[in-house]
Symmetry: C2
Subunit: 193 residues, 2 copies
DNA sequence: GTCTATACTACGATAGAC
DNA sequence: GTCTATCGTAGTATAGAC
């Protein structure tokens, strides 16, 4: 729906008319469901982030050590990003396009921010626990979080550029498998003590 | 100038009027210098990428081993991204916003693509040489490239989100130093054999 | 809940005077 | 090389009939 449009061209690049056509409504009908364009955008972002949060949450509660938990968390995140092509771009935009957006954020956008926070707090705790247990090296946790986001969200948001770089479609099952292996292997050697 | 505007709001989010005001011209005068908005955008992107390419190129020709070269390359890239706040965002956008852009690309955009290619070929060769020499583990080179882009370009493009995550300004000298250390340390343990 | 019609603003782009 | 004026389109948003 609107997800794919916002993912491709961003908030400013998509018109309400275009969204309305794609969902088979008149433009004014769309304004009946969403008071402003920002409300629509907020709902799209919130939905996407909610989905991601649901997918990665279980990995943090399994009965296993920090290294194994991190592997499962990465598997879940990468699977979620790979299954829906628009998700990573939308997510990356919501991280990078934060400025200029508000005056005051819509409730949906606040819900999206809570989802991001929940995801981050979860893996933040995992990393700290691993470091405390001596399983992980004593790295900077915020910087490691940024690296993880870059290695996953950026990767699956890179679209045609990523396709060309890899020589194969980013979202092909083979390349998704290789991505998981690449990220986990880097962390297994670079993060695990 | 226009760099900061496009970095903040992307191609569609910036109007020619706004750019003209910021450079102290009338809108029509701007169209005299750039036939279309796409030509202006292309020139901005090409200039930014050219600057980056100039900065990172020397690191690949120093007289040192692959691991040391990679360290110098990362230092140069991170310094370049940190010095000009708009650069990383613009670069990330140019990677992620590739679709829908053309019918046919402007000459400036083609020049920008050559700069990207040149940067990538350089570090691609460095990684392959390191693997062949047994200095680096036998990782997937394209996936490592994506990881490097994510760890650097995404990080410095993350703006307010990154500031909050780190708890300090992303571009402060202290956090830039920590970023270099975090990335190089991850690679030293995770990539170097 | 969806429609037509409309208001108003901004957009990219062009023409032509200076 | 910069300006004013203008074109045509599309932008967000609202009012009101059905």
């Amino acid at each position: 729906m609107a997800e794919a449009l916002f993912a491709r061209r961003g908030f400013a690049g998509v018109g309400m008319r275009e969204v309305a056509d794609v969902v088979g409504l008149g433009k004014s009908s769309l304004f009946h469901h969403f008071k402003t364009k920002l409300h629509l955008y907020g709902e799209v972002i919130a939905r996407v982030l909610g989905r991601i949060e649901e997918r990665v949450r279980p990995a943090l509660t399994i009965d296993a050590g920090p290294a194994e938990k991190l592997d499962r968390w990465l598997d879940a995140l990468i699977d979620a990003l790979a299954e829906q092509p628009a998700t990573a771009r939308l997510l990356l935009r919501s991280l990078v396009e934060d400025e200029d957006m508000p005056p005051e954020p819509t409730p949906e956008i606040e819900s999206a921010e809570r989802a991001i926070e929940s995801i981050l707090i979860g893996v933040d705790g995992l990393l700290r626990a691993g470091i405390e247990a001596g399983v992980f090296r004593a790295v900077s946790v915020p910087h490691m979080l940024q690296t993880l986001i870059g290695a996953t969200v950026y990767h699956f948001a890179s679209g045609e550029f990523g396709d060309e770089l890899l020589g194969h479609p980013l979202l092909s099952t083979e390349e998704v498998r290789r991505r998981k292996e690449a990220v986990k292997s880097l962390l297994h050697h670079g993060l695990v003590a």
